[in-house]
Assembly symmetry: C2
Amino acid sequence: MKKNNKKSALEEKEGIHLDAISNKASIAKIKSFRKNQPSVSSLIQGIHNGDKIALSRGITLVESKSKPHAIQANQIIEACISDKKNTLRIGITGVPGVGKSTFIEALGKHLTNIGKKVAVLAVDPTSSLSRGSILGDKTRMEALVKDENAFIRPSPSGDSLGGVARKTRESIILCEAANFDVILIETVGVGQSETAVHSMVDFFLLLKLAGAGDELQGIKRGIMEMTDTIVINKADGKNKQAAKLARIEFTRALHFYPPKENGWIPNVLECSALENEGISEVWQTILNFKEATAASMYENRKHQNKFWLLQTIEDNLKIRFYQDDTIQEKLKELTSLVMNAKVSPFVAAEQLLALHQKELK
Amino acid sequence: MKKNNKKSALEEKEGIHLDAISNKASIAKIKSFRKNQPSVSSLIQGIHNGDKIALSRGITLVESKSKPHAIQANQIIEACISDKKNTLRIGITGVPGVGKSTFIEALGKHLTNIGKKVAVLAVDPTSSLSRGSILGDKTRMEALVKDENAFIRPSPSGDSLGGVARKTRESIILCEAANFDVILIETVGVGQSETAVHSMVDFFLLLKLAGAGDELQGIKRGIMEMTDTIVINKADGKNKQAAKLARIEFTRALHFYPPKENGWIPNVLECSALENEGISEVWQTILNFKEATAASMYENRKHQNKFWLLQTIEDNLKIRFYQDDTIQEKLKELTSLVMNAKVSPFVAAEQLLALHQKELK
């Protein structure tokens, strides 16, 4: 009994299951592992000193699903959160094949060359893909990975976009505390991931290739409205002429979208990330944006903070409802009746809400 | 005591407060009122016979805030709901002054002239305005009001868009059961009301005036994507030339929006509702739409039904959370801390959700 108690206390503290461990040696091993784990306060200290290993460990705690880790992560976040105004959070989206990794490497190197510290994060609920695009393929971002002033972290694994988005947003806080000036957040745009990234960045960049005529083909609804600048990548060699035409077409297209509240007029640029051309122009546009919208940019961050507060609350209320087994069964039955106009959606909703109320008590 | 009991039983049944009534005469009056109230079954019968008075009384029950009325309303809705395929639900939006009432009257008269039965409803959370736009001003829709084959109902009063939208959606069910073929749903586009209307109609029409150059000015974000056709109203007299230019400009603008899933290509028309010109072309476009998208139109209605089921559930979960006094107080305090980056949104959300959980028990 005593041994069991000891085990569960350990389990609780370490957040790991010890079912497979039954001898003293293993317990000793775990105790020694715990000893080598840096304390929360030393991690906080390390992050503030810009130590990339401490930052990495902090993010691992943020991403962990264990309860004790979550408590430690919250302590670190509370110690790191601040309203620093000298950072820039940039969202980068584009379909697979558009050259996001090459572009991020080129932009990242440009920034470290001019003395900036750059962190690269990703929001991609299909995490295996994202690990591929950022780190898995060793030939990608090779130069940036080795750069002392760059920090690259693949997308956290997580089953839901909400979970991945939360972890990425908390990682931004840690990166900024570790004195990274520019945070690049990549997304491949699965589902609503662009919307999630858009609501955690200051500037949103859409990467495109020159197409075969109708340039709007393949752009998801709502993306054009979010975009602060469109960059046509691979504007090199034979593609140069097509890129020029695409630039004209996109510039015209942007004119037909409602103006932005902050007064910023989105523009279209060409670049070749591979040949390192047009990258400084992209950075100049981002600086122009920062200068033109400075006041509203910080106001926007405040509203993003509020948005994430309410979004998290509402997501959780929904999760609690939809994950209830009794609800799931009844919902399935009623959804079919509602879709085929046998029961009114509102009458069915009332029934389900009454059931949920009963379940909670 | 006995008298009081009698009163509360009546209160409960009639859904009205009797606080002001203390003598037998008044109670007798109410009993007689109740006697004259048609039964639910006779209302259902009347609605199915196309009786406009029964329809009107049914909608009054749907709109009522009293519990016994709600039970009766649900009985009526359950008896009226069906997946009729020969009806058309058309949403009409446009800013005040664009001539929505005149347009609806002209389109409505055109439809009754060709043998259709037309119902006009409205979604407008600022109900006083809407009563004004549909019925308050007696000079408006004069001809349609008198038309035997038309039924006009102002926006239900209600404090929230959710409430108004629900009532309007249930009224559509009743109107269709009363054999109305075409349901026109007007909105002035306050807040998110266009989105609500868009998700309860088959076809969405945006009414515009010829502007002074940049035609996209004044169009709210997201409206262009919802629009199935843009109608430039008041294309008469001196405005004719400007309307032509606006038509060209909007046609070009529409080209720059992503294509619709159902394959429909939105178009731009001109009309003069006042001079009754171009109205039959609008109707022809709607018929073309119905023919081109028939299969996906009914599929769309199924998804709208499901959307409203989930939307109602989620709205109610949120209402229960945000209306809690303890939550309200704590939320106010934490929102300010979160906005100013003193507390992480996720940490604050956790605190509030734990508090809500405690409150529910």
